[in-house]
């Protein structure tokens, strides 16, 4: 069975190591913060200028001057720091953020990602995504393996305008975990109940399937 959004988020959270500084994009990536394993602490960076982002505020805590990169009201943890956008992106661009997790429309076997623009549709902008994929040490993409028509989103070459080149390290989809290795998707794990055949069918890019592909544990 394909993973739920929550399961993808749960799997993402297992990528975190104790002490990681992590930037989570809107959507499934943000959910991953709810599944950080026991004994592991991560500090969340929000690119509008907050290191040590906390949970959403209670009614009483709401403060218009405290928002996240998604423009939602938010809180800060004890020991956080707050700074300018230039400082925030200095941090990101300079490779100080350990992990960035973000969604995408497409990725390809070269580690390219397309996540911000569909020609012919209104383009709202890239926000901080291009900076994040150019800067973080470890870029993880979360998305469904295929679109609603069954078309693969893991391609030989992205067809949409790119967000970044040769930058993603790992893709966590509803069907599998894949790594970018030597110009191919390397199948690292399959979702419970999802066959290798299905993954093969829904991966348009070059796929390397090792002899033993572990099943994700939940």
């Amino acid at each position: 069975m394909a993973l739920t959004r929550e399961q993808i988020a749960q799997r993402v959270a297992r990528e975190f190591k104790d002490g990681d500084y992590v930037n989570l994009g809107i959507g499934i990536p943000t959910l991953a913060a709810n599944y950080v394993p026991d004994g592991i602490s991560v500090m969340l960076q929000s690119e509008n200028g907050l290191l040590g982002m906390g949970p959403y505020p209670t009614e009483a805590q709401v403060d218009a001057d405290m928002i996240n990169a998604g423009k939602e009201t938010v809180t800060a943890i004890t020991g956080s720091s707050i700074f300018s956008s230039a400082e925030s992106f200095a941090m990101i661009r300079g490779g100080h953020v350990d992990i960035t997790v973000l969604g995408a429309f497409e990725v390809d076997q070269h580690g390219n990602i397309a996540s911000w623009m569909i020609p012919g549709k209104l383009v709202k902008g890239m926000g901080g995504a291009m900076d994040l994929v150019a800067g973080a040490k470890n870029i993880i993409v979360t998305m469904t393996h295929a679109d609603k028509y069954g078309n693969s989103k893991l391609l030989p070459e992205c067809t949409l305008p790119l967000t970044g080149v040769n930058c993603i390290t790992r893709i966590i989809t509803d069907l599998a975990v894949l790594e970018i290795r030597d110009g191919a998707f390397y199948l690292a794990e399959h979702a419970p109940g999802v066959s290798i055949e299905e993954i093969k069918k829904k991966t348009a890019g070059k796929l390397i399937v090792p002899e033993h592909v572990p099943e994700m544990l939940f």
Binding site: S46, E47, N48, G49, L50, P55, Y56, P57, T58, E59, V62, D63, A64, D65, M66, I67, N68, G70, K71, E72, T73, V74, A76, I82, F83, S84, S85, A86, S88, F89, A90, I92, R93, N112, M117, L122, V123, K124, G125, M126, G127, G128, A129, M130, D131, A134, G135, P161, L162, T163, G164, V165, N166
Partner: protein, 234 residues
């Protein structure tokens, strides 16, 4: 130290000199930390053909969005826009031009503009439409693109407190683009919640030194929340 007293008492004085066709750099992220009264003054002045450099363009009826109502903006330089129907309409009509710029590059362009750095290399945007037509150069085996600085005829900034000399501090994430915007305007106007006397702010804890600031005005702020997200009490 009267020559350093930056305080003005009317919005007319605050924005005096703004003319059609000028470039205005605005602080703020979404609706957070925006100079509400200065934006309202630009609307009252009816200045047109403006290029506005700001991460976003407000929403319908609030923030920079109000400047769309009378088509005062010719061009936006932003990382993310279109939270408002009017913006979308003017963009599709061709009444409004947008230069999409990655958020970090935008922040760095403003900082560079204020810091006398005319251009810098960044990996951000390489191999994407943002890099089209820009010089590419490798450093340590990695390709980077050349991005140029941004300066404005005016910078409009929202701070929490400023002293009479223009030294500013920002509150929480309302800091965002404001410190860089403050450095990059030929005339920098700061709208604040509170004006304090020199010496009330800790010298080592000033976010924007007064040298960057030409005018300070006390405003009142609605501080509209764009996306209220509340959790249940535990």
């Amino acid at each position: 130290m009267s020559g350093f007293d930056k305080v003005v008492t009317s919005y007319e004085e605050a924005m005096a000199g703004l003319q059609d066709g000028m470039t205005v750099i605005a602080g703020g992220f979404g609706l957070c930390g925006i100079p509400e009264g200065l934006i309202a003054q630009i609307k009252r002045m009816g200045t047109r053909q403006l290029t506005v450099v700001s991460n976003n363009c407000g929403v319908d009826g609030f923030g920079l969005g109000v400047l769309l109502e009378d088509k005062q903006i010719k061009k936006m330089v932003s990382s993310y826009v279109g939270e408002n129907a009017l913006f979308e309409k003017q963009l599709l009509n061709g009444e409004l031009e947008v230069e999409l710029t990655p958020q970090g590059t935008l922040a760095e362009k403003m900082r560079a503009g204020g810091a006398g750095i005319p251009a810098f290399f960044t990996a951000t945007g390489y191999g994407t439409p943002v890099g089209d037509g820009k010089e590419v150069r490798e450093f340590n085996g990695r390709p980077y693109i050349l991005e140029e600085a941004i300066t404005g005829d005016f910078a409009i900034v929202k701070a929490w407190k400023a002293d009479r000399y223009g030294n500013c501090v920002y509150r929480h994430t309302a800091q965002n683009f404001n410190p860089m915007a403050a450095t990059a305007g030929k005339i920098t106007v700061v709208e604040v919640e509170e004006i304090v006397e020199p010496g009330e702010l800790d010298p080592s804890q000033i976010h924007t030194p007064g040298i960057y600031v030409n005018r300070v005005i006390r405003g009142t702020f609605e501080k509209r929340i764009e996306r209220l997200h509340v959790r249940e009490e535990a």
